[in-house]
Assembly symmetry: C2
Homo-oligomer: 218 residues x 2
């Protein structure tokens, strides 16, 4: 997707800027025939660089597994630290999702997709996967926006809260620590913990409680 | 100010949440009679804890000097990393400010204040200083919102970009480094620099260029 002024402005309203934007991606899980729909949520960066919009997913993640099979997903914009932390480390309950039926009329033969998104998100962008490039440990998926949904009309403005951001950082670092066991990540988590205590909102502190719970489990 | 659900929602639309919100505060500089109006801008945290909204300003800052004299200031909401970094370390040009005339009818005898704000801000809250408590090195100023201005109607949604937040962090850490010469702050700045390069928007990278320029000057 081209980084024109118009595109940048439109996408920013849905939480996506050039560079990397941290959103919660929701995807459909595979289901045996007759099973109920089941959904997955996990924060990932949407990368928009040099007029290319893509995901870089490490194999082994549920999101990567799902997007190897499914062509559509939703990117959920939220500044709810609890939603960020919970979806990083745990499965959300199915009742936290809602499904939207999207008809892709651009395809040669129109395709109908059922795409899960988060009820609690402020805004949602539906994305289509247009190309997959497989590497040894990861898959790069080129994506393009398909539709835009405003869920929370009341939400205006934004906050610059070092505590909220620190929850996002703590989630990223703990994920890395789980993979590498490199203790520098624990130092960074401790650094952000003190920021959350000092600057965070109630919801940010609750978000970090989830990070701490996870740390006690590993 | 009480942290009721209604107040929280209203303030969040103007960039202010419970905890600490990082906004750019604009204040009037002292002027000899006949001098033109001159203004100051610098990022500070607005603290909202236990139903109390206040600033904690270290003596020596221009903002502290100005708010010891002036009763009104503006809190400017922005996610422009360049504006954050520039106003942290340098004086903004007077043409970057606009002035609003505010009539405080709540006072025993109505007071007219001329309050500077940033033309480039998205939204602005005018604040009144209601009480000052002086300590040895700092002043705590209890504040209350007086008026609300929406400047950028086009601005909707928000982004969660680790690069943008890292510019805010780098500004805070470099300010602390200048005061303490503690090299741990340089390590943190280097950490955020790599995040800005990886995740930031063009504007975030330009914001960090200002931090780097400042580092070369000290």
């Amino acid at each position: 997707m081209r980084e024109t002024a118009e595109n940048l402005e439109k996408m920013a309203k849905f939480g996506i800027s050039e560079g990397i934007s941290e959103l919660i991606l929701t995807t459909r899980n595979d289901a045996a025939a007759g099973d109920k729909l089941s959904s997955n949520a996990a924060p990932f960066g949407i990368i928009w660089k040099n007029n290319r919009m893509f995901l870089h997913l490490f194999k082994g993640s549920k999101t990567c597994e799902n997007l190897t099979r499914e062509d559509f997903f939703a990117a959920n914009m939220t500044d709810d630290a609890v939603l960020f932390a919970t979806s990083t480390f745990y499965d959300l309950k199915e009742e936290e999702f809602e499904n939207v039926v999207y008809i892709d009329e651009k395809s040669a033969s129109p395709v109908t997709a059922v795409i899960p998104f988060l009820k609690k998100a402020d805004r949602v962008v539906l994305f289509k996967c247009v190309e997959r490039t497989e590497a040894e440990d990861s898959v790069i998926i080129d994506i393009e926006p398909a539709d835009f949904i405003v869920l929370n009309l009341e939400k205006e403005g934004f906050i610059v809260n070092r505590g909220f951001y620190s929850v996002v950082e703590a989630c990223v670092h703990l994920t890395r620590y789980e993979l590498t066991k490199d203790r520098q990540y624990l130092d960074l988590i401790r650094h952000h913990w003190s920021l959350i205590n000092r600057c965070g909102r109630k919801r940010d502190k609750e978000g970090f409680d989830i990070v701490r719970k996870r740390m006690n489990e590993i």
